[in-house]
């Protein structure tokens, strides 16, 4: 019954202590390691639809982003392969459609310039691209079928989110196929136009181009000349466009003999070479008469003074601490310019805009800890090329070094003196706040100009006895450029009060134990063998009380006559009756316990017990008569019990 009650109470206690917080409207959290895996078909199919949309828009970069995103998505392991195939093929297809659209545009432009041969080349490229796109489409469709099939999306209830997502994907595929059909139709139309041009009566033209000089500085003039002919006859009054790296630069008219001449300043583009071409596009009365033509390209070697920008090694910067940066400009062996325009940006914000010579410097702004972007732009100036440079500048706090001198041991409730020194790469820390914490005790100090500090950690009372404890020291510098520092030292903490109290308690217990043992020894002298137990015999002199040292019997002192007598009688009884006395029994309880064994001698033994109690507890002394009566009782009991048990 008691065990059950104890178990029930312990169970109730465990239930109360182990109960958790009340729930809220939503689960506040869940154990991620045991949370169920749930794959959402709707979102995966919607992402597929989004991919197809970007393929249609020929946005391969967007598809690549979705591909990267999918690597972090929650997709069933069985579908990882097909989803990956879908996305890879999708990106390739988007790129392919982009190229097809570009080639179609180029081919259309060539046709508008009456250049059927160039257009045909592009058209053939388009046809090849469409073939490739069809192959990618097959891969994408297969992969999406596998994905939709894993969730049985096409068999889902009509109107359900899964079915809607699947239908949307199918609709997007239809749009993609229509796009491919449209592109194919466009290409066929272009091919027909090319064939029409080639089969017609349009006359071919040839265009030549020369450039003098073929090497020049930017900004310098270059002369261009050439001839436009058709079947060897020069064509006069035709408009020739000079293209520099594909962009129209200027236009000239041909002379009567078909020749043309022009001059152009080389654009301020600081590249080593430029491609120059001449283009003839039939217009007005020439439409339907001549085909367009483009001259072979002419390479122009471009010269300029290369500007090099050098920045000193900045290293780290520190918040609140001024930092100046120096930069130099170099031009190799070129003549030096009078001045250059320089802009400096810090994290994209203009920091300085200046005119400078060969070198310049500027101050970095006060910035928060972190990585910041420094950018310098040197503007182009005639023959001098522009230059730019950017660097990541780490703004950091200087590492604070904290040295401590601690006593190693703290005696509670006394305190401890702690000395130390704080410094950083900028030197000693002055007026830095030092916080020292040992358990619940805390003290603060300020550092001196040399970075040193002294602190007195006052402790107090605690429940601890002895053991290790962490001494946490934190330094908070006043300067923003110096970082905070923290260190932990292990200290031995000795609680003197508790330790002394414990020792005192132990000493008291030990003293008590020793005294108890001594008293027991007095009551129970060494026990001789039962056969040799002498019967107590009162001694006359003792009965007269004239001596404290005379004995009543062997080993019994006269002052303890009754106690010794009682002990001897008891031992005799125990030896004769083989009775056993339990521990911590009172004298009267012993008498009661032995009564059944003593029979008629129980009464005398009780009388002897009463005499001993009188001796032990009564404030009045035991009389000689009592002692003699006790001796008589002892003799009667021992002889009687001995006879009865022989």
């Amino acid at each position: 019954m008691t065990g059950r009650l104890l178990f029930a109470m312990l169970l109730a206690t465990a239930a109360v202590l182990g109960s958790v917080s009340p729930a809220t409207a939503f689960s506040a959290q869940d154990d991620p390691s045991t949370a169920p895996w749930v794959y959402d078909g709707v979102s995966v199919l919607q992402k597929h639809t989004e991919v197809i949309s970007y393929v249609i828009l020929a946005d391969n970069a967007a598809v690549a982003e979705l591909q990267d995103q999918a690597s972090h998505a929650n997709i069933p392991p069985a579908l990882r392969g097909s989803v990956s195939d879908f996305l890879v093929a999708g990106e390739l297809m988007a790129t392919q459609i982009k190229n097809i659209k570009s080639d179609l545009s180029e081919a259309g432009r060539y046709l508008s310039q009456f250049r059927p041969a160039d257009a045909q080349a592009k058209s053939e490229s388009v046809a090849l691209g469409l073939q490739q796109a069809s192959a990618y489409l097959a891969t994408i469709e297969l992969a999406s079928t596998q994905t939709a099939g894993w969730w049985n999306a096409r068999m889902a209830n009509v109107g359900s989110p899964l079915r809607l997502a699947s239908d949307d994907l199918d609709a997007e595929f239809l749009r993609l196929r229509r796009l491919l059909d449209f592109l194919l139709a466009q290409n066929i139309a272009l091919r027909e136009q090319e064939q029409g041009m080639n089969a017609g009566t349009l006359r071919a033209t040839e265009l030549t181009l020369n450039a003098q000089p073929d090497t020049a500085y930017v900004g310098d003039d270059v002369d261009f000349s050439g001839t436009l002919t058709s079947s060897g006859t020069g064509l006069g009054g035709k408009s020739i466009t000079i293209l520099v790296d594909g962009s129209p630069a200027f236009t000239v008219l041909t002379a009567v003999d078909g020749s043309y001449l022009g001059s152009m300043a080389i654009p301020y583009r600081y590249v080593s070479q430029m491609q120059v071409e001449a283009l003839y596009v039939p217009a007005d009365r020439d439409l339907g008469l001549y085909l367009g033509s483009q001259s072979p390209g002419v390479k122009l070697n471009v010269l300029f003074y290369q500007t090099s920008l050098f920045l000193q090694d900045i290293g780290n910067s520190y918040p609140g601490r001024a930092a100046s940066v120096r930069a130099t400009l170099s031009y190799g062996g070129a003549p030096l310019p009078a001045e250059r325009s320089v802009q400096v940006q810090w994290d994209g914000v203009l920091l300085a805009d200046m005119k400078t010579g060969q070198s310049f410097s500027f101050d970095l702004p006060d910035s928060a800890v972190g990585t910041h972007r420094l950018a310098i732009y040197v503007t182009a100036q005639k023959r001098y090329s522009p230059a730019s440079l950017s660097r990541d500048v780490n703004v950091v706090n200087a590492v604070t070094t904290l040295r401590l001198s601690t006593p190693g041991m703290v005696l509670l409730p006394f305190g401890a003196n702690i000395k130390g020194n704080a410094s950083s790469s900028f030197g000693p820390l002055e007026n830095a706040r030092v916080k020292i914490q040992l358990g619940k005790w805390e003290t603060t100090a300020l550092t001196r100009p040399d970075g040193s500090f002294d602190a007195r950690l006052n402790t107090g009372f605690s429940l601890t006895l002895i053991g290790g404890q962490d001494l946490n020291t934190t330094v908070l510098p006043t300067e923003r450029w110096n970082g905070a520092a923290r260190r932990t030292d292990r200290m031995v903490v000795v609680n003197l009060v508790n330790l002394l109290a414990l020792l005192a308690a132990l000493a008291i217990v030990a003293a008590y134990a020793w005294r108890l043992r001594r008293n027991l020894a007095r009551i129970r002298p060494p026990v001789p063998a039962p056969e040799s137990v002498p019967l107590p015999v009162p001694v006359a002199s003792n009965l007269q009380g004239d001596s404290e040292t005379q004995t009543l019997g062997p080993g019994v002192e006269s002052r303890q006559t009754l106690a010794a007598l009682y002990g001897a009688v008891l031992r005799a009884i125990l030896s004769f009756t083989a009775a056993v006395i339990g521990p911590s029994r009172t004298l009267r309880e012993v008498a009661d316990d032995l009564a059944p064994k003593l029979g008629p001698f129980a009464g005398p033994f009780r009388q002897l017990t009463l005499l001993l109690e009188k001796d032990l507890y009564s404030p009045s002394r035991v009389s000689d008569t009592d002692t003699a009566a006790g001796a008589e009782l002892g003799r009667t009991i021992t002889q009687g019990v001995g006879r009865a048990n022989r």
Binding site: P32, W37, G460, F461, L516, S584
Partner: protein, 291 residues
């Protein structure tokens, strides 16, 4: 009966003193929902009350997981803490975070709806994977983080968005809902208040032990804490955590220990122990009458 009561009390005391807490967000809880991992990584100390703000709180981060409402006095003290340069990291989902944000006049609100992401997640939609991370955080090595039954933020002030959910995420009004307002939504933002900084994160579970090993959650938490500077002093506000009876009992025991460590009480205790141990000596006379 007294013996049974004694055993029950002793077992209860053993449990209170030594049995690790199972409560959410408890610093001593080594289970999945505790903050033991955070304690080991950023070394915070837990305070049981917000009762004072110092003159210079620079370099201090107070992490608050508001599972309990704030009093006006506590709001005022947090305001003073921020004005004096402290950093408050308020991590909440459906608790009392809005109360303190309103009191501080920060134009950010926690949504009352839950954020789910059925596509970008860990295991299921209740663990949204956040991949839109601010450059500052990316520089600290954070590429993605995992939330756990999170809410989202409504940021209407000119504050820095530190992380946002994806366009496949949405808010749901209850756990059975399958659609809601479409994302992306901010999930972490930083506001400057005078000399102080308030960092708001729409999920307190980001800090628990089981979250630390997911994606870059640990780096994210460290980066948030480092907004207060290098080696910041991190303090966890333990007074607003929802506590289990065991945690409440442990708090009570801690307070009792603190009380017992007071000088006068300790002197009395030592005296009482000495007196108790001496009782048998005083009763010597009576003991002598026993065998």
């Amino acid at each position: 009966m007294p013996l049974i009561l004694g055993i029950v009390l002793f077992v209860s005391w053993l449990s209170i003193a030594f049995y690790p807490s199972k409560g959410d967000y408890m610093a001593t809880n080594t289970g999945w929902n505790g903050l033991r991992g955070l304690a080991q990584s950023v070394g915070p100390r837990v305070v049981d009350s917000i009762d004072a703000a110092g003159q210079d709180e620079k370099g201090k981060v107070l992490i608050s997981i508001p599972g309990q409402p704030f009093t006006q006095q506590e709001s005022d003290l947090i305001g003073a803490f921020l004005r004096n340069g402290g950093t408050l990291l308020l991590a909440d989902d459906f608790g009392y975070g809005n109360q303190i944000l309103e009191a501080l006049d920060v134009q950010i609100k926690f949504t009352t709806d839950a954020l789910v992401d059925p596509y970008l997640n860990y295991r299921n939609q209740w663990f949204p994977r956040i991949m839109d991370i601010a450059p500052d955080m990316q520089a600290a090595g954070v590429r993605s983080i995992i939330l756990n039954h999170a809410s989202a933020l409504e940021v209407t002030g000119p504050y820095e968005i530190l992380a946002s959910s994806s366009d496949t995420s949405y808010l749901v009004a209850d756990e059975a809902a399958t659609e809601g307002l479409k994302g992306p939504f901010p999930v972490a933002a930083r506001a400057t208040l005078g000399r102080g900084t308030v960092i708001v994160v729409s999920d307190a579970s980001l800090l628990v032990n089981s979250s630390m090993s997911l994606d870059d959650n640990l780096a994210f938490v460290k980066a948030l804490v480092s907004f207060a500077g290098e080696n910041p002093e991190v303090i966890i506000d333990g007074s607003h955590l929802s506590k289990t009876p065991l945690d409440l009992a442990r708090n009570f025991w801690d307070k009792a220990k603190g009380l017992m460590a007071a000088p006068y009480i300790q002197v009395l205790l030592v005296g009482a122990i000495l007196a108790l141990t001496s009782i048998p000596v005083w009763r010597k006379g009576r003991s002598n009458g026993r065998l």
